[in-house]
């Protein structure tokens, strides 16, 4: 497009099509398109009744117009359009139940489908909400075996629960084994310290990642 202005005259010179001999010229295209202004219609009609060359040109313009209008409307390739949506697969994606290929396919789909992206975020929020519901299982730090995935309970609350269960003897043992109280550490700060050090790795480039759970 950038080169159109300077080449317009050249193209006119090289142009091999019909030449207009009368000055009603472009009115004929506007006539075909019903785009004439007041008074122009009479001008065109009057001219066309006695100018054979313009009648011929008029027909040729009409042919060109028809040729383009007859061009079929094209179908957009599937990959471009928002495709059929993934429903159950999104849950499976979150639950890690898809194969590597399927996971990649879902992500590829998310690249073009806002619907599925939003649904995925909703599903994830719903899952998190369910997991956040208070549970009744024993506190994780005291649980020797089973991963407790669905619990999200504060240490303080757990400490109270544990005290209720175990009683003074357990507390005494706890003090003997690990001191009076665990120092609270800030994992976010740890992660930030790691991140800032990673950022200066030699020849490094980084794909930035929002760290899950880094919000307060």
């Amino acid at each position: 497009m950038a080169d159109v202005n300077k080449t317009e005259s050249m193209e006119q010179a090289a142009f091999t099509g019909v030449e207009s001999v009368c000055d009603i010229g472009e009115l004929m295209s506007a006539y075909l398109d019903g785009e004439l202004r007041d008074g122009e219609l009479e001008q065109v009609v009057a001219h066309l009744t006695d100018c054979l060359e313009c009648i011929a040109e008029f027909h040729e313009l009409k042919e060109a117009r028809t040729a383009v209008r007859m061009l079929p409307m094209l179908q957009v390739p599937d990959r471009v359009m928002p495709a059929a949506h993934y429903g159950p697969e999104l849950s499976a994606f979150l639950d890690g139940e898809l194969t590597a290929d399927e996971q990649v396919m879902i992500v590829a789909h998310l690249q073009t489908c806002t619907d599925c992206l939003l649904e995925l975020q909703d599903l994830d929020a719903a899952r998190t909400a369910v997991r956040s519901m208070p549970g009744v299982e024993p506190p994780i730090p005291l649980m020797p075996r089973i991963p407790v995935r669905s619990q999200r309970t504060s240490l303080k609350r757990l400490a109270i629960a544990a005290a209720g269960f175990i009683g003074a003897a357990a507390i005494a043992i706890n003090m003997a084994s690990s001191g009076p109280e665990a120092t609270p550490v800030d994992l976010d700060e740890f992660a930030d310290r790691h991140t800032v050090r990673v950022s200066v790795e030699d020849g490094l480039t980084g794909v930035p990642i929002f760290m899950h759970g880094s919000t307060p």
Binding site: L61, A64, V68, Q75
Partner: protein, 169 residues
Amino acid sequence: MAEDRVPTWEDVARRYGRKIYSFAYRLTGNPDDASDLVQEVLLRVRKGLANYTPGSFEGWLWRITRNAFLDDVRKKKRRPTTVLPDDDRAVVGASPSPDEVLASVRLSDDVQAALLKVPMEFRECVVLCDVVGLSYEEISNTIDAPVGTVRSRIHRGRKQLRGLLTWPM
């Protein structure tokens, strides 16, 4: 589309996807470029809808489309275009005979090839008028040029096109 309602971008994709694609394909003759353009336009529409105030939606959409197209042209410095057969991308009327399909494909290939030889400035106006179906005034808003210029470009584009079409109609 109701003028007083802001559509979702999926609405836009459904309603205008084919037109945008056809617009781009007729201008470039390149299915990849046309696909790129549809994606880019939908992206810009999605971003732009937040700030869109109900009004002439089509005018807004085609300005976005044209700007995206111009950006793409600038970026790619317009590699030589090739004409591919429309074949399966063409949407032909209900149950046409094989001969009709073939004839339609051949004809449209010829027209497409001829279109690509018409200078871009004229081609753009012809396509907006005859493929997209915009009025002169809408085209004028889209390409940001006076209606008189639009009228002149459409006329000259058609004249050149007819000269390039070799078959009798």
